[in-house]
């Protein structure tokens, strides 16, 4: 039993922590988040060419570092702590994982080296009705003479307005649910693709709507088997859920730490308000949430590694991902919400950063399924003996 970071993993985490403390300061986050692009291109370049973060879990044959999901998660946790504004999650954890899960060797060889070099990408899967699984797919894909034609609208696409290339989930016309789903990869500037930035409540994570209007793609754009990629999509989303849970653990930890620091300084009735039990007990509950969330996250990261190596079943990944994403969604929201309450009046101001965590908590909670969604998903596995 060795369920803890190795020395190398600790070094990776500490390096990320130190780098982000320097570059993803409150001022830097606030400067990036008010732009439409949503990130600082110079910082993104440093992340890719100095830190090699997009390369972490990409196999060496595609230019990656060949490390695992645990290393990736350790880094993402630190990004969450510092509210990093960057197209990292969308590029690596959505588009990158889609190539890893569904792409053939030629496709991986064509797209993954670009990812490692800092080209940004994303996954468009949900239609205008939203949703967190294959049933949400609404863009249609028709095969016409060996080529594919896409039509429809995808919404809630993370960094969709800035990504250089896209993975799109689309379905056969008239299909529903898990049937008829295909995954395709394309350049964002392909003819017929139009993209619109959607202003968001959490300004640190950008979203867009993408319209596909008779977009024609060659046969090599198809990842996997036409119409049979729902389970691959689900695996990609599960891997992304584990990654998002890492962001949430980092944010939940920082919400707690910032709150405790503030409470120690604030004096009322002649003593530090951190000495009042009503306040301390709330902080203790916050620590329980973040530590339990961290346990769920690290376990899920280990299962994600096994899933990518082909040694874990997709149902194991689904369960671990739902436990991590479901619990960490609630934990981050709880901690950031308690944080605002415990900061008191200043917690409601724009000046203090706790509000930024509160907003990111909600956006990460909603995206890819909140606690309620994942409890329902687990209930199906547990009570209906369905595979999820």
């Amino acid at each position: 039993m060795d369920f803890k970071f190795s020395d190398e993993q600790i070094m990776i985490r500490d390096t990320a922590e130190a780098f982000l403390a320097e570059v993803s300061t409150s001022a830097a986050v606030r400067a990036a988040m008010v732009t439409e692009r949503g990130y600082d291109p110079d910082l993104w370049a440093r992340i890719c060419t100095e830190m090699y973060w997009p390369a972490i879990h990409i196999p060496e044959q595609y230019g990656g570092l060949g490390l695992g999901y645990v290393e990736l998660v350790a880094t993402l946790e630190q990004m969450g702590r510092r509210l990093l504004c960057a197209p990292f999650f969308a590029s690596v954890c959505l588009a990158g994982n889609a190539l890893l899960v569904a792409g053939n060797d030629a496709q991986k060889g064509a797209w993954l080296p670009r990812l490692v070099a800092g080209s940004s990408a994303t996954l468009a899967f949900a239609g205008p009705q939203g949703g967190s699984d294959a049933a949400a797919v609404s863009v249609t894909c028709e095969q016409v003479g060996g080529r594919y034609r896409l039509n429809g609208v995808s919404r809630y696409v993370l960094d969709g307005h800035t990504a250089e290339w896209l993975v799109v989930a689309a379905r056969a016309p008239g299909s529903a649910g898990n049937s008829g789903v295909s995954l395709l990869v394309l350049e964002a500037n392909t003819e017929g693709v139009s993209r619109q930035w959607l202003p968001t409540m959490d300004q640190t994570r950008k979203q867009a709507q993408i319209s596909f209007d008779d977009v024609w793609l060659d046969a090599d754009a198809l990842l996997g088997v036409e119409g049979e990629s729902a389970s691959a999509l689900e695996t990609v989303l599960d891997l992304a859920r584990v990654a998002l849970a890492a962001d949430q653990v980092g944010g939940a930890q920082q919400s707690l730490d910032m709150t405790v620091d503030y409470l120690q300084e604030r004096v009322q009735f002649g003593r530090s308000i951190a000495s009042y039990q009503a306040v301390k007990h709330k902080c203790a509950d916050m620590m329980v949430k973040v530590e339990a969330g961290r346990s769920a996250l690290y376990y899920a990261a280990c299962i994600a590694d096994e899933a990518l190596a082909g040694s874990a079943q997709s149902s194991q990944l689904a369960e671990a991902a739902s436990i991590a994403k479901g619990y960490c969604s609630d934990a981050y929201f709880f901690n950031a919400g308690c944080g605002i309450q415990l900061f008191g009046g200043v917690g409601f101001t724009a000046e203090y950063d706790i509000q930024l965590y509160f907003k990111r908590a909600k956006s990460t909670e909603t995206f890819l399924g909140n606690g309620d969604y994942h409890r329902q998903r687990l209930a199906r596995q547990l009570l209906d003996e369905e595979t999820i």
Partner: protein
Amino acid sequence: MKLSFSKQDEQFRAEVAAWLQANLCGEYETIRWRGGPGDEHMYVEERKAWERKLHEGGWTCIGWPEAHGGRGASIEQQVIFNEEYARAGGPGRIGHIGETLAGPTIIAFGSDQQQQRFLPGILRGEEFWCQGYSEPSAGSDLANVKTRASFDSDTQQWKISGQKVWTSLAHESQYCFVIARTDPDSVGHKGLGFFLLAMDQAGVDVRPIEQLTGTSEFNEVFFDEARCGANDIVGLPGDGWKVAMGLLGFERGVSTLGQQMLFQNELNEIVALAKRNGAARDPALRARIADAHMGLRIMRYNSMRMLSGGVDDGALQKSAMIYKLYWASWHRNLGKLAMDVLGDESEILEAAPYQLGRLQSMYLFTRSDTIYGGTNQIQRNIIAERALGMPREPRG
């Protein structure tokens, strides 16, 4: 970061499982799954016989050093033993206070003479122990001990007078370890002694406490000039607090996975019940059952981290401090969930006058989980003060 146990540990697991399968049967079949929390008063003689059986197989005190008759088993192996024991439906261990608390304390702090006198009885499953810590005015505030010990130079014995409470298995035990005040002018954690006291004597009176479950697992124990030999104090008069705190450090989380196996059995029973009675179709209950499942899985991952993390400056790592608050709260919620899944049937007893079903008993008993061993409120203080570094409340 690895999820699996080593090959040697898995071999050990197979050995434990095989022994239990071969021995926990026949005359012991009736005590499988019995005698756990909420059921500790049941099948006492059979469970005492089972302790001797365990000893025959070499399965008592496996964590003790080999020099004292143990196996010197690693933390992992102790975890595995507890997990397999629970998986096999091993009965609640009457010997656990001697094995996990009294014995390790005597090994760490006791004299050679005390070790020779007390350890073999624990090891053989023949002598049982209870714990004399809590008092009516010393619950969470354990240092507020009022029981007194005075040395009688005529008889060369200690005389102990006072009252202990919440003493489980007191009526089944030959010995009790008692914290008592050796310096009558002292307060708080100073001036205490740690005594090894024989229960079978005139000065000891055990009175069961009837619980809200209608059963009695805990007792009050009254000492009226109870006698304790001059050699039966661990350390010196005044060392009692140090010894008592050392004892708390022996709980290293080895029982956690075994405890979770019992929880898993309870949850499985609730899931099976929900499928049978239709509760599994109720959306609100479905979400709560899934939440319980999620919480139990995370409890296991918490333990794995705790056990892998080892010790940090001699104390359990900070993240381990959440463990008691987490499991106690989870289990209390499970009790309520069990009743809500039972629905109308939750009110109907198995028999008069007050015979509870398993889930009913579990539901009521879980109300003690968030109280004993440090209440949820005390746990939150510990987390806030020791893990988060927040200041202590000014004390009265």
